[in-house]
């Protein structure tokens, strides 16, 4: 097995992406979230996957996953107030519709300030995308985001934070439909 190498440390020391990833945000944790956002807001510029890394120093990536209604609105407003353009990764057939009833019109408002990425319809892992589910989990959510925002999403993330693997149907299909960058628990990388 491969070990952590000095190269890893050097890369992270030179120009890391400092990422804050949120899902549900309970009301009692909002102050903590505000503190975290303020903390990272001053660390460096927003991470844009199409921009080259600076010579040194971190870039900031703030993301809200699963389209939880309270978290989405709270996050969108707080980030805008702090000058952070955040990433939102909604689900469109959420496992808990009481938590995630954001309308397309509301997503459109959020997308006017922030960026919307692909995260499947029902919170599928890439391994759960099959020929039977690929339309629902990959093709339709990407098309829906494009219909909402007017642009095809360029960035996506799988449940579980897995990296790109071209052997997986979900990855190949996402790539074919315009996803060019993948967020994982390890990196945000350009899809080869």
């Amino acid at each position: 097995m491969n070990k952590w190498t000095p190269g890893h440390s050097a890369a992270l020391m030179r120009s890391p992406i400092v990422a804050l990833n949120f899902h549900e945000i309970a009301a009692e944790h909002r102050d903590s979230v505000r503190r975290s956002l303020r903390h990272v807001a001053g660390m460096g510029p927003r991470f844009d996957p199409d921009e080259p890394a600076p010579a040194d120093g971190p870039r900031v990536f703030v993301a809200f996953y699963d389209g939880m209604r309270d978290a989405a609105f709270f996050g969108a407003e707080e980030c805008e107030r702090l000058g952070i353009k955040a990433y939102f990764f909604p689900l469109f057939q959420h496992y808990d519709p009481h938590l995630a009833n954001v309308t397309d019109d509301e997503w459109r408002q959020i997308a006017a300030v922030h960026e919307i990425g692909f995260h499947t319809a029902t919170h599928a892992t890439v391994a759960e995308v099959t020929p039977l589910t690929v339309e629902r989990e990959v093709v339709e959510p990407i098309a829906r985001i494009e219909a909402i925002t007017g642009v095809r999403p360029r960035i996506g993330a799988w449940k579980g934070g897995t990296r790109f693997d071209a052997d997986q149907l979900g990855n190949r299909t996402a790539r074919e439909h315009g996803i060019r960058h993948l967020v994982s628990n390890w990196s945000i990388e350009r899809i080869p």
């Binding site: 992270l12 020391m13 890391p16 660390m43 996957p49 080259p52 390890w186």
Partner: protein, 79 residues
């Protein structure tokens, strides 16, 4: 003064339980090539944890929570 391990443990568990977030440190496409891109993630986490004397199994973390350990370790890199 809590030990580094207990501090780390609290950070990890607080994120898992309370639903808040700590900064994660990720590779970008630019920096990925400088490390070993094929490194196995859990092994990376395990080896990094071992360096601090932390046993992820003892924390009863799910595998993806273990990634947060690496992130917590990386938090110290931020200015």
């Amino acid at each position: 003064m809590p030990s580094e391990q207990s501090h780390l443990k609290r950070m990890i568990l607080s994120q898992s339980v309370e639903g808040t977030a700590i900064p994660m440190v990720l590779f970008s496409d630019d920096t990925l090539a400088q490390g070993d891109a094929s490194a196995d993630q859990p092994e990376v986490v395990a080896s990094a944890a071992a360096g601090l004397g932390v046993d992820p199994d003892a924390l009863e973390l799910f595998s993806y929570d273990a990634y947060r350990l690496q992130s917590a370790l990386g938090e110290g890199l931020a200015p």
